[in-house]
Point group: C7
Chain length 94, copies 7
């Protein structure tokens, strides 16, 4: 199992058929291409300068849109995943 | 449905006839071309360093002026939209 | 009507005769050319990191000097205006 | 009259005879040439992040040394003046 | 013995067989190649601006993923180690 | 007299014989050549973001080592002096 | 005697035989070559934005590892020393 640190999350990119089902289409011509994925692990949160721990806004299972060029690629169980900062996640699809 | 994170908002660009009706004309020759759109979803707000959540100043339905080069393009129901930070929104047209 | 967000203001540049009447002349040779205008709308203010809302120092009707290269040009009622951050306003002429 | 905003001040550069009288000579060969002037107007001060207003350390009438390349040139009553941030003022001559 | 300062940690890179056993494979083609290692020493933590000491999230013995280009190489008992900032550690493998 | 603002200090560079007497020799080959001088005036201190005024650590008469390329050169009573920020002073020689 | 200011420390680089004795070898091929030394003087500490003085984590006599390219070289009693910020010290060897 993988446990991201702080305000990081692990995201599994959505397959093509899942993207179509989501009703959101990310254009090929976009200046900064966003991508879709599912959150599979979240960190404990960000620590503010007053010492308060701020829980993340996303949770495991959320389908999210994130910046294409963000994050670090890793392979888990032979499948591609990304470790992202929560600030690279733009929106949740519901 | 799409739910932007933090201080982000989703904006639908106004069509040409709507722009004319607004009484505000954005010049073709402007150095930094602003654009007009309607807010269709807002995030939960920005978290200050003291832990306080700050609600956004714009709300769903607001007609806004925003910086042209800001944000990330996405397609919702086959129509072009933008995910913006609230700080890229300059003004509300009333 | 236009309502600027946060610490932004809308300024209408002064016409030539108004500039002369103000008694302040901005030299043609200045390194960073400032300009004169009248404030026609102000935002709700800047939010400090402790959550406090800080009202703007300028108000509607103030004649101000601002940095030439600051802001975003828009047209209101077919006249040129600028959306500026309050920090781009250098002084009030009284 | 001119009223600078925030932590800005308006300074009138000293004439040559006044500089000599001050007993401080700023060398021609200095890497970053400072200049001498008299404060003729001061802003209301800087607002700290806790909301406190911090009065300026300089006052009207102070003779000051400031960085040559700082500020914005304006003409008041046909004489050259500068709008500076207080942080561009290095010292007061007494 | 080595005692890292503040929010630094000392990490011993994992050997090839250990990496395979962890079930996490870091692709050769990754844009920013992360690496795996074991934490062998941790600092006393980061000091927040309010004076509070924030303990590190990782502890001795944790297997971690970290950014390849981060840190300073040292040799301890003739084996290669790295001194890293905790923020260069992306996740813990459990 | 000269009164530096905020966290600034005025320093008079030491003459060659004084440097030798101090027992500290600054090498000619140093990457970033420090210099020695005597503090002749200090500002009122630095204001923290909570409004507290922080007195300077150096006082008039201190012999100090400072970064060579820091500060602004001025002449007082026909002798060369420097206006420095306190952070450009590295150490006091006692 | 030398008294470093704020969060600075004075370090005397270790001689070759001392380095070997420490059991820590810093590789010649390291990307950013760290070095070893002994702390011979420490400043009064760093002042946080709330006014609190934060004592340094290192003390006189500590053997430390520091970044090679950090600091300012000085000679004390004809021996080479360095004035460093505490943040350029990576770890203490015990």
């Amino acid at each position: 199992m993988i446990k991201p640190l702080g305000d990081r999350v692990v995201v599994k990119p959505l397959a093509a058929e899942e993207k179509t089902a989501s009703g959101i289409v990310l254009p090929d011509t976009a200046k900064e291409k966003p991508q879709q994925g599912e959150v599979i692990a979240v960190g404990t949160g960000r620590t503010l300068e007053n010492g308060q721990k701020l829980a993340l806004e996303v949770k495991v299972g959320d389908k999210v849109i994130y910046s294409k060029y963000a994050g670090t690629e890793i392979k888990l169980n032979n499948e591609e995943h990304l470790i992202l900062n929560e600030r690279d996640i733009l929106a949740i699809m519901e």
